[in-house]
Symmetry: C2
Subunit: 107 residues, 2 copies
DNA sequence: TTGCTAATTAGCACATTAGCTAATACTATG
DNA sequence: CATAGTATTAGCTAATGTGCTAATTAGCAA
């Protein structure tokens, strides 16, 4: 919803990668902290930024907090902005898929 | 091409708005500085960031430098990233257009 | 060359961000 | 209740970003 917060959240490489992790499965703060070799407080902060931007949601289960991707929110904001700036993008869908695939391949 | 630079460039509200201005026509540094009530040096810096991210190109004509949007670069990076994180976005195109329209309407 | 306009670069002040450690909640379990 | 485990908040430092003014570079014209 708030474009400012979304783009601020996405400005950080680690945060974009957190989203990539969460695109596969839910994970807890400490799960992610381990994978990023980062302290739990630092990770908690990143997750807070992502949550305030509406890009992830959290759910407490017992003593752990699980974070989950809000994929629609991400896609709608990004494509909404792209079309606002460049409304000619009709034929780009197929091309973009191919590009996404190439980028995954070079990770 | 370099996702880091693109997202860093888009993290600034003024820079996103500069892209919106450039989506309609080419403009010079001082044109944009006037519209944003910003000094020319500040604007020059923003344009430099956008150019290094590949989102705009510049062309000197006489003593003025004209900046132009690289729409494809923007759209490819954003949709490429969106599909990488959330590859389910097939049916979202129409929806996104509608959203872009709504956002323009509330400017 | 000189003068004028446009653009950029350099240097400074201020605010913000990202990482850490230490301290503080919250939850489950002895 | 006490303790351990998980998460978050507070407080700090180092680095970065954004705005400005002053100085410098590039181009055009007298």
């Amino acid at each position: 919803m708030e474009m400012d917060k979304v783009f601020e959240a996405l400005a950080s490489g680690p945060r974009r990668q957190i989203l990539a992790f969460l695109s596969k499965t839910e994970l807890t703060t400490s799960d992610l902290a381990l994978r990023f070799r980062m302290t739990a407080p630092s990770m908690s902060r990143h997750l807070s930024v992502l949550e305030h931007a509406g890009l992830v949601t959290s759910e407490r289960r017992g003593s752990k907090v699980y974070y989950k991707l809000e994929g629609k929110s991400l896609v709608n904001t990004l494509t909404g902005f792209a079309f606002e700036i460049c409304p000619v993008a009709g034929p780009l869908k197929r091309e973009s898929r191919a590009m996404a695939k190439r980028q995954r391949a070079t990770d």
